[in-house]
């Protein structure tokens, strides 16, 4: 805590400065300038909540902040201090138990966090100090230290790359654990420091880095390095994100690098992107708290009523102090107001069982034990990774049954994150699959058309136009090395393309001395000199290479998105290719078009000059380069197009359809490009072909000059459209989404931030609300190009919508962590990109498809179980306490307990706890298979349906009815002289025992009536509990217990059972109490039966018109279109 506040403090202090100056290697840059050490946070990551010495007070404080615990503490203290009818042990012991168990659990969890922190903080790093390599613990790194990082190590803090073992100062990094992109990214060192690749030389570097204060955006960094050479003339170089190595990223394919730490510890971008794991509360828990308040109110009312009536009743002296029951001197002298107050407290203690501690114990146990069913479920077991589901938090089981919004990541979650080359088209002819030794097979078009040259050109283009590198695998021995080429690239598509080309006989063999080598179909090695690479960027959405053939021709190969390439080709055969591309896109493939052009040497001279000029530019480098690229990539010839499949996860589409049918809204949040994401959405049927897409992207918004105006225009237009389509409220959407035109929304990161952050305007709030209105009306929303924090932002935004819908996030990468933490339920997929997501999630499953059973079956059952558990608990304690309350009217409001202390204590702990626990673990009111196969059942429990006011009132009235029956039934029974055939009379403890016996049986049998799934365990605990009650009562009354002050129960129970009237009365009272419940169940079953019959009839007639869920995509397109017409 102290640490955090310190961090905050020092961060705040620095923010005022605006930038920070880092002295590389902590060397002062010159003798004259005094070296002022700035204070930065050390490189320690703290995610734990407690320390050894603050654990007890802090944990206790946090536990007693829970309303229930605090209430029990108060009751306990009252019992200790005031003369009360029940002993403090009755509430102190359970409370102590609950607090201890929770403290142990939380302590253990925090210990795990400490261990994880330590693992990171104590890991060894190497720092260059005084030209020596010094081994240190990671947490000791200070800002300004020069750190050495070896291959496959993660960066211990945010570093500015100074030099790498590569002579060009390049290193490759994978940021899989940060933003989920598993590919390698290239980072550069500043030119002036490239040469300093040894410990000695790096130590001679005198430089300062000025950079902005830490901020969470992973893709933004602005800085400047001033390098002081001997001449003392500083050379300034600008630093950008490409120079910054982020903590958490891993160094790949580079032996080692040197970097200087700029941000450390909690100020690294990774740490800033992590949100604290806050305690998540489920909706059910909120309902419990609401009920708690209602019952607290009932309790206070009861106590107040009793106190008032007591003093009204006592106002006549013969009632207050009859001669047979005189007060002690002390009692007489006590102040009346104080007496009233203590009386009030005593009544509260007497009735406090209405809110039982044991409910919290049972709920905790139910959640803890119940969560095992998830990890035990063999349907969640994945052969591939040899693991099943994992439950990290058991507090949220029931929340799985309440989800309204599902936010899913795309890469690795919906898709397998492995690309595969599917087909290509050359000059408008489709080629698919591998063929005879020749290579390609043409599957359509006129067979006569067979231009070998064009094919080879196309394949060469695939082999050359990329940034793929060959990974030289040292570990593998030479023989396999040549056979197995491992390609690495920043884009998995490129790898897929290169591999695709390889399949057709053109193998890329790598770069050697600026020469790209490839092996053609005839096993000949061709070499091309790589002149320039015109890198991919998101705006151009294409990339090119300029190569020189062995023959001296200069060729430009370009590949890119269709929309980026078609306008730049002169070829007139666009139409055929276009049709192919469109069909491929519709099938959910990622398509790229390939074009080429020949450059005459004169032109090349000019181009070369321009490119070098642009590359060297210090200012506006980006824009200049772009302009040059734009000039170059014109007048090309279209060769063909490729289709690459990012394979969807198994049953991803079925799962999404099931979720849709269950009334859930699925949003895809991805960091990926819009086109890719869109095609995936089509493939997994998030968007149907009939879905009308509304786009709010950079593309649509930036067409206009003033972004905001355009945005405003779009927003209002879309809203109008949607309002027109859905005149009624949102509620109808759930059911009607099949009938109406479906809308899908596509938003990208920059537009989103424009919507959310266009602050100064008063209209910004307006934008947001319009945007939300649009979102809520859309059946599917796709958000692309999202930064991790933006994902969380979206989730938070939806979370705070009216009616506070329950959100669920599912993702596999570290970039999903923030959204997993933000949403109500976070689900991690144990993906290929590390375990960060799984570790931070509440539940983790191996595959996306498991979400279906997790929500529809497990979530549904957990919700029903726990909702019933909660209702039942309040119910059974109201029936328990109500007779006690009524009894006060007959005992002069003297706080006389109706039941013996043992019964008061044991009622919730022993007699009625196990049946409901068993119920809440095993009940399946609907079969698991039915639940999974009929997603619509999920809608029945949406919106916390079982804990709304209606059901709550029903249970409360039932309890009030039963309590009244118990008490007055027994009351009228006791109007007789004797209930025994020997004429002996019963006393007040027999009265209480009768009420209690009826109570225990009724409450247990009520549960038996509710149980729809009787396993042997249910039988055992239900009948066992009743038997135990009888046995206990005999036993408890059968012995004079030496430790008891009052032998109240001695032989009460046995004596009671010796009376025939008593038996008859007990049976009668149980029957009367259960009668309304039986009636309700029978009526419900009659109704359900007929409803089901109606439903089955309707379904039979429906089935013809209903659209089958799994149909080839294209077929559906046509039929749906025809339907629309």
């Amino acid at each position: 805590m102290f640490r955090q506040s310190l961090n905050r403090f020092c961060a705040g202090e620095e923010k005022r400065v605006g930038t920070r100056t880092v002295f590389v290697g902590n060397h002062s840059v010159s003798g004259t300038e005094a070296y002022i050490a700035q204070r930065f946070c050390d490189n320690r990551i703290v995610s734990s909540k407690y320390t050894l010495w603050n654990f007890l007070p802090k944990n206790l404080f946090e536990q007693f902040r829970r309303i229930a615990n605090f209430y029990f503490l108060i009751i306990f203290l009252v019992q200790v201090t005031v003369d009360t009818p029940t002993s403090p042990v009755t509430s102190g012991l359970p409370l102590f138990f609950v607090i201890t168990v929770t403290a142990i659990k939380q302590g253990y969890e925090d210990w795990l966090r400490h261990r994880a922190d330590n693992e990171v903080n104590k890991s060894t790093v190497y720092i260059i100090e005084n030209a020596k390599r010094v081994r240190k613990e990671s947490e000791k790194i200070k800002v300004g230290d020069v750190v050495e990082v070896q291959a496959d190590e993660t960066f211990p803090c945010d570093l500015i790359l100074l030099s790498s073992c590569n002579s060009d100062g390049i290193c490759y990094v994978t940021t899989a654990s940060l933003d989920g992109e598993s590919n390698c990214k290239t980072h550069y060192a500043v030119r002036d420091t490239i040469a300093l690749s040894t410990a000695e030389s790096i130590d001679t570097l005198r430089a300062t880095i000025e950079c902005e204060q830490p901020q969470p955006d992973l893709y933004k960094f602005v800085g400047r390095i001033d390098i002081y050479s001997d001449s003392l003339e500083a050379v300034a170089r600008s630093l950008g994100p490409e120079n910054l190595l982020l903590k958490g990223a891993t160094l790949k394919n580079t032996k080692k690098i040197y970097g200087v730490a700029v941000y450390t510890g909690m100020e690294t971008k990774m740490a800033l992107n992590y949100q604290g794991k806050s305690q998540k509360r489920s909706a059910v828990e909120k309902s419990i708290n609401a009920f708690l308040i209602v019952y607290l109110f009932i309790l206070l009312t009861k106590a107040a009523v009793c106190t008032t009536l007591k003093y009204v009743w006592q106002s006549t002296p013969h009632n207050d102090e009859p001669w047979y029951n005189q007060k002690t001197q002390k009692e007489r002298e006590t102040l009346k107001a104080l007496k009233m107050f203590t009386d009030f407290l005593s009544f509260m203690v007497l009735f406090n069982f209405i809110i039982p501690v044991s409910m919290y114990v049972t709920v905790e146990m139910q959640k803890f034990l119940g969560s095992f069913f998830i990890s035990w479920d063999k349907d969640f077991y994945d052969e591939e990774i040899n693991e099943g589901a994992l439950v990290n938090t058991s507090d949220l089981n029931e929340e799985l049954g309440q989800v309204d919004y599902v936010f899913t990541d795309k890469t690795g979650t919906l898709t397998e994150n492995s690309m595969e080359f599917i087909e290509c088209c050359i000059d408008g002819h489709k080629y698919k699959g591998v063929t005879q030794e020749v290579g390609l097979s043409q599957t359509d078009g006129p067979l006569t058309y067979y231009d070998r040259n064009r094919e080879e050109l196309f394949l060469r283009a695939l082999c050359l136009c990329h940034t793929v590198e060959i990974k030289t695998n040292d570990a593998v021995d030479g023989a396999t090395e040549s056979a197995e080429l491992t390609y690495i690239s920043s884009s998995p598509d490129e790898i897929a393309l290169v591999k695709g080309a390889k399949k057709y006989g053109f193998t890329f063999l790598g770069n050697r001395n600026g020469q790209m080598r490839l092996e053609n179909q005839r096993k000949e090695i061709e070499e091309y000199e790589l002149l320039h690479t015109l890198n991919f960027d998101a705006i151009r959405r294409r990339m090119s290479v300029i190569v020189k053939t062995q023959g001296g021709d200069i060729l430009l190969f370009c590949k890119g998105a269709d929309s980026a390439v078609f306008p730049r080709v002169q070829n007139h055969e666009i139409e055929l290719t276009k049709a192919h591309v469109e069909r491929n896109a519709m099938d959910g493939y990622r398509t790229l078009c390939v074009a080429f052009k020949e450059i005459v040497p004169d032109d090349y001279e000019r181009i070369n000059r321009q490119l070098i000029e642009a590359k060297m530019a210090l200012q506006d480098r980006e824009e200049k380069m772009e302009k040059v690229f734009d000039d170059i990539e014109t007048n090309m010839n279209l060769i063909g197009a490729t289709a690459v499949e990012d394979k969807l996860q198994d049953q991803a589409a079925e799962t999404i359809e099931a979720l849709h049918a269950a009334g859930l809204k699925v949003w895809v949040l991805t960091g990926d490009k819009m086109e890719t994401a869109k095609s995936t959405c089509y493939a997994c049927r998030l968007f149907q072909t009939s879905t009308e897409l509304l786009e709010l992207t950079t593309k649509t918004v930036e067409e206009s000059e003033r972004k905001e105006d355009r945005l405003h225009e779009l927003l209002t237009e879309y809203r109008k459209k949607l309002l027109h389509e859905f005149p009624k409220s949102t509620r109808s959407l759930k059911k009607a989404w099949t009938e109406h035109q479906e809308f899908g929304l596509i938003v990208d990161g920059s537009t989103l931030s424009l919507i959310l952050n266009s602050s100064q305007d008063s209209s910004s709030n307006n934008y947001k609300s319009i945007f939300l209105q649009i979102c809520m009306k859309c059946t599917a929303v796709l958000c692309c190009r999202m930064a991790p924090l933006q994902k969380a932002q979206i989730v938070r935004m939806v979370k705070n919508l009216k009616g506070s819908p329950i959100t669920l996030s599912i993702g596999d990468g570290a970039n999903d962590v923030s959204m997993i933490l933000e949403s109500h339920v976070g689900i991690g997929i144990k993906g290929k990109e590390g375990r960060q997501a799984a570790r931070n999630s509440d539940y983790s499953v191996p595959k996306f498809k498991h979400l279906k059973k997790l929500l529809l079956a497990h979530g549904h059952l957990y919700y029903v179980r726990i909702a019933h558990l909660v209702q039942y608990f309040f119910y059974k304690n109201l029936c328990f306490i109500l007779p006690q309350f009524l009894f006060q009217f007959f005992c002069g409001f003297s706080q006389q307990p109706l039941y013996d202390a043992s019964y008061l204590t044991m009622y919730n702990i022993c007699f009625t706890s196990l049946p409901i626990l068993a119920y809440s673990l095993l009940e399946q009111h609907i079969n698991i298979d039915t639940l999974t196969s009929d997603p619509r059942l999920y809608m029945k429990i949406s919106g916390n349906a079982m804990l709304q006011l209606g059901p709550f009132l029903y249970w409360t009235f039932l309890a009030a009815f039963e309590g009244t029956v118990f008490f007055f039934g027994t009351y009228f029974l006791f109007q007789t002289t004797s209930l025994e055939e020997n004429g002996k009379v019963y006393g007040n403890w027999t009265f209480g025992t009768i009420v209690f016996t009826v109570l225990v049986f009724t409450v247990t049998l009520k549960l038996a009536l509710d149980t729809r799934f009787w396993t042997w365990i249910n039988h055992f605990v239900i009948w066992g509990s009743l038997a135990f009650y009888v046995f206990f009562s005999f036993f408890w009354g059968g012995i004079i217990w030496p430790f008891l002050k009052q032998q109240r129960m001695y032989f009460i129970f046995a004596q009671m059972l010796s009376s025939v009237s008593m038996w008859l009365a007990i049976i009668l009272l149980i029957f009367i109490s259960l009668f309304p419940e039986i009636l309700r169940i029978v009526l419900k079953n009659v109704r359900r039966r007929s409803a089901r019959r109606n439903l089955s009839c309707r379904r039979a007639s429906d089935s013809l018109s209903a659209r089958p869920s799994v149909r080839p995509l294209l077929l559906r397109t046509f039929s749906d279109e025809s339907n629309m017409l």
Partner: protein, 353 residues
């Protein structure tokens, strides 16, 4: 290889019915076809039982006479007047007359009833010391604090038995006299004062302290009688087996009643000529009127009641059974109508198809 195989097995969840939530289960559905016969059967059974109970209850005779002090019944008002200030008047006796036109079928039980007396008041009902009553000598001289203000006597001696319950022991005594024919002398009806308390109370829960030199009085030496008692506990009855803590009247009194109006068994009439019941004739109850009830607006009654297998007269149970039984049958019919209506509807639906 084998190692990895076992690891695989260890990771894989157990495929048992329990872990997969596929335990064999009975899934009962309380459908109308089960519930309807159930309703009718239960209804009939309840009505049968109710009739039986009702008639049994009706056949039980109960006589109750208020002797608190209203001027019209007997001459107890004088005693009541005398005892108005709360302190019991010394041995005021009065009598209560009634006549039976026919035999009161026996065995007859003799109760007294108090009303507006809160034996279930918490302060009152905890005011006794069970250890003391179990005869532990240590507890005898150190009563628990719950007994206060009836813990120590005026002289500072511990009270035995301590506490409000014991102190307020009902101390009216009754004798019943029978006049077979007018003019004949009244014959005392033998009252069996034993067997009125629970056997377990009388024999296990309540024990006298161990005798000292064969004398109960010595065992109680060093203790004081409860302030309201005219004599110490060991003189409650001349019968050595019925005195001290095991005195049956005392034990009966110590079983605190559930409600403020309560009856306690005083005696059973089952001896001699009266084993078959109380024969026809005039009766007089001689009352030693000690117990003040006017102070708390209470009433005192004597009650004669016969007892059947179901205990004393109690119409409630019979009527309740009858009502519930009829309700069952009524609901059964309503359900039947509803059920048939739905059935018809379904049939129509079916025929529509």
């Amino acid at each position: 290889m084998t190692w990895s195989a076992t690891a695989r097995g260890a990771q894989q969840p157990d495929n048992t019915a329990f872990t997969q939530q596929r335990l064999p289960a009975w899934q009962p559905l309380l459908s109308a076809s089960i519930a309807l016969p159930l309703f009718f059967c239960a209804g009939l059974a309840f009505i049968g039982l109710g009739l039986g109970l009702y008639y049994t209850s009706n056949s039980i005779k109960e006589l109750e006479y208020d002797y608190t002090g209203s001027p019209d019944t007997g001459n107890c008002s004088a005693c009541a007047e005398a005892g108005q200030d709360g302190a019991p008047p010394p041995n005021c006796s009065c009598a209560l007359n009634f006549s039976l036109p026919e035999l009161f079928q026996g065995p007859v039980y003799f109760y007294y009833e108090l009303s507006n007396f809160y034996q279930n008041n918490r302060r009152y009902s905890v005011s006794c010391d069970n250890a003391q009553l179990s005869g532990f000598p240590s507890a005898l001289r150190q009563p628990v604090n719950d007994c206060a203000p009836y813990q120590y006597g005026a002289a500072g001696l511990p009270i035995a038995p301590c506490g409000a319950i014991a102190d307020s022991l009902f101390n009216d005594s009754f004798s019943l006299w029978h006049q077979r024919q007018p003019g004949e002398p009244y014959v005392e009806v033998p009252l069996d004062r034993t067997g009125i308390a629970w056997w377990t109370d009388n024999h296990v829960k309540f024990r006298n302290p161990p005798l000292v030199n064969g004398s109960l009085a010595l065992a109680f030496s060093g203790t004081a009688a409860p302030p309201s008692w005219p004599r110490p506990v060991y003189e409650l009855s001349p019968d050595p087996n019925n005195t001290g803590f095991v005195n049956q009247d005392f034990v009966v009194w110590m079983r605190t009643a559930a409600l403020p109006t309560f009856r306690k068994l005083y005696a059973r009439i089952r001896q001699g000529n009266y084993s078959a019941g109380l024969p026809r004739g005039d009766y007089r109850v001689h009352i030693t009127y000690n117990y003040p009830v006017r102070a708390f607006h209470g009433r005192k009654l004597v009650v004669f009641s016969s007892i059947s297998w179901m205990g004393g007269k109690n119409p409630f149970l019979g009527i309740a059974y009858l009502v519930v039984g009829s309700l069952c049958i009524l609901t059964g019919f309503v359900m039947l109508v509803v059920y048939i209506r739905y059935q018809d509807q379904d049939d129509e639906d079916d025929s529509d198809d």
